[in-house]
């Protein structure tokens, strides 16, 4: 059996997915060399390469095992994810007033919420896989998946990590878009959203989170006044990106990064540095690569051999999509500043491993898109 798997891996390998992943990661490493060099830690890009290699190996391992096994484990994985989220609230390390990390020693740690996004996708995929419909769904049908998502979100909000919780919601909605809703249910959902928003604003959001949203709003209302206050980061990011103009200031010649005008530039604002140094040409190519990556996951979903594969690919694709949209929207000043990383581009082991896991899953669905003879279920006799 391993031999068969290896052959199939060789024959059906998704070079497009691999190429996009490789190019984006490479751009990330090159960009990180620039930011790391000027901020006094020139070896960061090496750490990033280690993580990418490690993550690549993991993706390979994830890809090679037929995803049906993940389907079996769907709810178990979800349970593990929930357990880890509870654990982080108990033993997590507090950084900036938030308990998001489970650390092992001083150098290594990971964020359960990152894993949770993937496990949520797997669990929802399993749920839909076993619930085929041809008629539209009612809200009642959505109760179970919504409840699963809500539990995960609640635990993540408790940390607190607004960005990731929001991502869980978006992933859930994206997956549910695959299915058909009855018109009446859809209307009800749309109508109650503002109500949920108001409730969330009043009871769920922390003051600093509210401040970010108000700052974002203020930056539209009175951009000048906001610049020295909370909107400073967004403003600096806009200036950095804009100042790249068409062809950029040239590699290693940016000024926003090295001179500390941008906070969290390796994790949250790497695109600003990239756009400043590479200009519109480079930034456009990067965005195009991301667009291709997301479209490619939709294609993988469309070509998947079963519902589980399709939902898995759409879910993973939506993880990419929303991360990209929120991060780029934030650095370009069209969305509020929320700490969401740019897939495969931002610095950080936790982020890299999560997205490599995602790439592995996409690759898996892509490779196993055909039912083959000798499959252990033997359904293609």
């Amino acid at each position: 059996m391993p031999r068969v798997l290896a052959h199939r891996f060789r024959d059906e390998f998704d070079w497009v997915l691999f190429g996009l992943t490789f190019l984006i990661s490479l751009a990330g490493v090159i960009n990180l060399y620039s930011t790391g060099k000027s901020s006094g830690s020139p070896d960061l890009y090496l750490t990033q390469i280690y993580w990418l290699v490690f993550g690549g190996c993991m993706a390979f391992a994830v890809a090679i095992v037929d995803y049906r096994h993940y389907e079996h484990l769907g709810y178990v994985l979800f349970g593990i994810g929930i357990a880890l989220l509870v654990l982080v609230l108990v033993v997590g390390t507090e950084v900036n007033n938030a308990k998001r990390w489970i650390t092992f020693g001083p150098d290594f740690g990971f964020q359960p919420s990152e894993l949770m996004k993937v496990f949520l996708v797997v669990a929802l995929a399993k749920l839909l896989h076993h619930d085929p419909r041809s008629e539209g769904r009612t809200l009642y049908d959505l109760v179970i998946p919504a409840a699963m998502t809500a539990v995960a979100m609640a635990l993540i909000l408790k940390e607190p990590d607004l960005g990731t919780a929001l991502l869980c919601l978006l992933i859930f909605l994206s997956i549910m878009l695959l299915t058909r809703l009855k018109a009446r249910s859809l209307f009800l959902l749309v109508a109650t959203t503002p109500l949920i928003g108001v409730l969330a604003w009043n009871y769920l959001l922390k003051p600093y989170q509210k401040e970010r949203v108000t700052s974002f709003w203020n930056s539209f209302v009175s951009p000048e006044a906001d610049r020295l206050g909370a909107g400073w980061h967004a403003y600096q990011s806009i200036v950095a990106i804009g100042s790249g103009e068409v062809f950029g200031k040239g590699y290693l010649r940016g000024t926003a990064g090295p001179h500390h005008f941008l906070p969290e530039q390796r994790t949250d604002f790497p695109f600003s540095i990239f756009a400043e140094e590479q200009g519109f040409v480079g930034a456009f190519l990067l965005i195009a690569a991301y667009c291709a990556l997301v479209l490619w996951s939709v294609r993988i979903a469309a070509n998947a051999r079963d519902r589980f594969g399709s939902v898995l690919a759409v879910g993973v694709g939506s993880i990419f999509f929303w991360h990209i949209l929120i991060n780029l929207g934030m650095v370009m000043g069209v969305l509020p500043v929320v700490g969401v990383t740019l897939p495969l581009f931002s610095y950080g082991g936790s982020s890299i491993l999560t997205f490599m896991l995602c790439v592995g899953l996409l690759m898996n669905v892509s490779i196993h898109r055909y039912r083959i003879a000798g499959g252990h279920h033997g359904d293609f006799a």
Binding site: H129, H130, P132, R133, S134, L177, L178, T179, R180, L228, G229, A230, W232, H233, Q236, I238, V239, A240, I241, G242, S243, G244, E245, V246, R253, T255, A256, P258, H259, H260, F261, A275, E276, G279, F280, A283, F284, I287, Y290, C291, V294, L295, V298, A301, A302, A304, D306, R307, S310, V311, V314, F321, L325, L328, G329, M332, G333, V334, H377, D379
Partner: protein, 660 residues
């Protein structure tokens, strides 16, 4: 295990197209935003990113110096050190305690400093945390050394080089010279000085006296140097950073102009010394032939060095609560009753209007009855002429003159000599004094005018008020043959290289419409005040110098005694002000000296000795001559009020009699 077939995926199939469309549209929006930022607004953002990094570092302009008439430095800028703190890097624990210790701050000052720092640290996103706050100015060499040698304990503490204004003469003539302090919001809003260099926060500005009057000339224009900095305001040293700087990189500052005053600090020192023992007084010395002020003292004064450095709350209160009002320039800001110092001008009116001649004899029996009121004279003077009336300062004679001349004619001549109007010296706030007329009374107190008002006005009481500056100008006019000059305190403005920007020439306000005969008579009488045995200033006479002058005693509004008043203070504050207005040498006057001793009592006893001492020392130390000037014979009919040149010739011929 349920395995769906491809056909069963139909629930999803229609969705992929919509997903693709949504994804593509979303990315198009992102690219659109990118186009807007990088292509449409790219140039603007690039400029912003450069101005983010390139900062102008200001180079202060050296403020112009102030010299006295003899070229002595009165005000200059000297290097000084200030201490600044960058909150972000500052150690608010130990470092703060050490800094407070080195600066010797009081608890209140230390708290105020901490409040400023923590305000900027409160919000982690407040970028002002990287901007320095000046916490101490003009620190001593010891403080500087202490801070420098403990640098490692004081992170975020910086020493700044800032030129500070220095007044080598301290308290001397400080009201005239003025002082500087920090600009306030109003100064920044309405620029007083050059348009090209508006005031910026923490700039210093001339706040009073000549420092204020000539702010525009003295200030200069600051320069700048472009510097590359990071978001924290720290300097960048890389070559790449240098390439961001657009030429020109440096604008040299333009130093301010120097100004030379008419004041002679040598004479000023004499004036100050002669006022020893008088806590509250004012003196002005004027060159009678040009209107130039040679000395101006208002006592008590203040040390502009301290004010420029910034007063502590305690020093400030001491200045405010001092009963002798050190903040007020008594030579120009304050109105006083002139008392008998005014009499020569009443006499002038009577003479010029033909009401009295030098021969007319009046009788003084010690009082003058008018209506139901009795106006008193200090003593019965018997028969006397106008000249004698001035010499002994007989009130009764002047009551008679007043009655005959009338208020409006007295006012006309007083105004002719500059009373009742601002002299226009042009610095500090100047009071106008007041010379009442019938019309004035009709307006203020309709229907209540009494001739008695005229009697009081004639002897410098009632509603007659003057400033020292007016008195010194008017006496100069009497002494120089009737020309009223505008008081001048400044000789010239020069660039630091010595090119004259503006020269100030004597300015004649008017040639008074009075006859030389009247002037001569008044001068003769004034000489008698000092030289005659019964003259009111005879007691203060100094045989080594010839002075013509007039004493005066200005009544002070009596204060009722408050419970708890210090008795000594109470009696002192109720004493009259003593005046002495004089010109010297009597025969050919060169300078006019006016002395006012607040609460000095009688002018002859208290103010005259001061004036005469100044006159004597002026000729001994400031303007010594090999051959001293003529002492006037009392009835020298050849007494002229000639121009200075003539006077000098006279001196040369008839010198030996000056010192008896």
């Amino acid at each position: 295990m349920y395995i769906s077939s491809r056909s069963e995926l139909s629930e999803f199939r229609r969705r992929y197209r919509w997903m693709r469309l949504f994804v593509v549209l979303t990315f198009l929006v992102l690219v659109g935003r990118l186009v807007q930022l990088q292509i449409v607004d790219g140039r603007e953002h690039r400029d912003e990113s450069i101005s983010n990094v390139v900062r102008k570092e200001w180079i202060p302009a050296v403020r112009g110096r102030i010299f006295d008439a003899k070229g002595r430095v009165i005000a200059t800028s000297i290097p000084s050190h200030a201490v600044a703190v960058i909150p972000h890097y500052f150690d608010t624990g130990k470092g703060f305690a050490r800094l407070v210790e080195f600066l010797g701050l009081s608890e209140a000052d230390a708290e105020a400093m901490m409040a400023k720092i923590s305000e900027r640290l409160a919000n982690p996103k407040d970028m002002r945390r990287f901007q320095q706050i000046t916490v101490a100015d003009g620190i001593s060499q010891e403080q500087l050394a202490a801070i420098k040698s403990h640098e490692d304990e004081l992170p975020g503490v910086q020493i700044l080089d800032v030129p500070v204004r220095y007044y080598p003469y301290g308290n001397m003539a400080s009201h005239l010279i003025g002082y500087m302090n920090e600009v306030n919001a109003d100064d920044i809003k309405k620029p007083v000085a050059t348009v090209e260099d508006p005031y910026r926060a923490s700039d210093r500005i001339g706040r009073s006296g000549l420092e204020r009057k000539f702010e525009a000339e003295l200030r200069g224009v600051r320069g700048w140097r472009k510097k590359t900095v990071d978001a924290r305001g720290l300097a960048l040293t890389s070559e790449e950073a240098e390439t961001l700087v657009i030429e020109p990189k440096l604008q040299e500052p333009r130093p301010g102009s120097d100004i030379t005053l008419t004041i002679d600090m040598g004479l000023q020192k004499i004036v100050d010394e002669s006022l020893r023992g008088h806590p509250s007084a004012a003196v002005m010395v004027m060159d009678v032939h040009s209107g130039r002020i040679l000395a101006a003292a208002s006592k008590p004064s203040f040390d502009p060095n301290l004010i420029t450095r910034g007063l502590t709350a305690e020093e400030n209160r001491a200045l405010d609560e001092n009963p002798f009002r050190p903040r007020i320039d008594k030579t120009i800001y304050e109105n006083y009753f002139p008392g008998s110092v005014f009499k020569p001008f009443t006499a002038m009116a009577a003479l010029e209007e033909g009401i009295v001649t030098s021969e007319d004899v009046f009788h003084c029996s010690g009082f003058h009855e008018f209506g139901r009121r009795t106006f008193r004279c200090p003593k019965p003077h018997g028969d006397l002429t106008l000249r004698e009336g001035i010499t002994v300062s007989c009130n009764v004679l002047f009551y008679n003159l007043a009655e005959m001349t009338g208020m409006d004619r007295i006012a006309k001549y007083a105004r002719e000599f500059g009373f009742g109007a601002r002299t226009g010296a042009g610095y500090n706030s100047e009071a106008a004094g007041s010379i009442p007329t019938r019309a004035w009374y009709d307006e203020k107190f309709p229907g209540q005018f009494r001739i008695g008002f005229t009697l009081n006005a004639a002897i410098g009481q009632g509603n007659t008020k003057v400033t020292l500056m007016q008195v010194v100008s008017a006496y100069s006019a009497i002494a120089n043959g009737g020309t009223l000059y505008r008081p001048q305190v400044i000789r010239r403005i020069e660039t630091p290289e010595g090119d004259v920007v503006k020269e100030f020439h004597p300015e004649i306000v008017r040639r008074t419409a009075v006859s030389q005969r009247s002037l001569d008579l008044i001068m003769e009488a004034l000489t008698g005040v000092v030289e005659d045995k019964d003259g009111t200033a005879y007691g203060a006479r100094d045989p080594r110098v010839s002075v013509a002058g007039k004493t005066g005693t200005a009544q002070v509004a009596r204060r009722a005694r408050q419970p708890g008043d210090d008795m000594q203070r109470f009696y002192y504050m109720n004493r009259d002000h003593a005046w002495f207005a004089a010109v010297t040498p009597a025969a050919a006057p060169e300078i006019a000296i006016v002395v006012l001793i607040e609460h000095g009592g009688a002018g002859g006893e208290n103010a005259a000795p001061v004036g005469i001492e100044i006159a004597r020392r002026y000729f001994d130390e400031v303007a010594p001559r090999e051959e001293a000037p003529l002492v006037a014979e009392k009835n020298d009919k050849a007494r002229q009020r000639p121009k200075r040149v003539v006077a000098d010739e006279t001196e040369a011929v008839t010198a030996s009699t000056h010192r008896r």
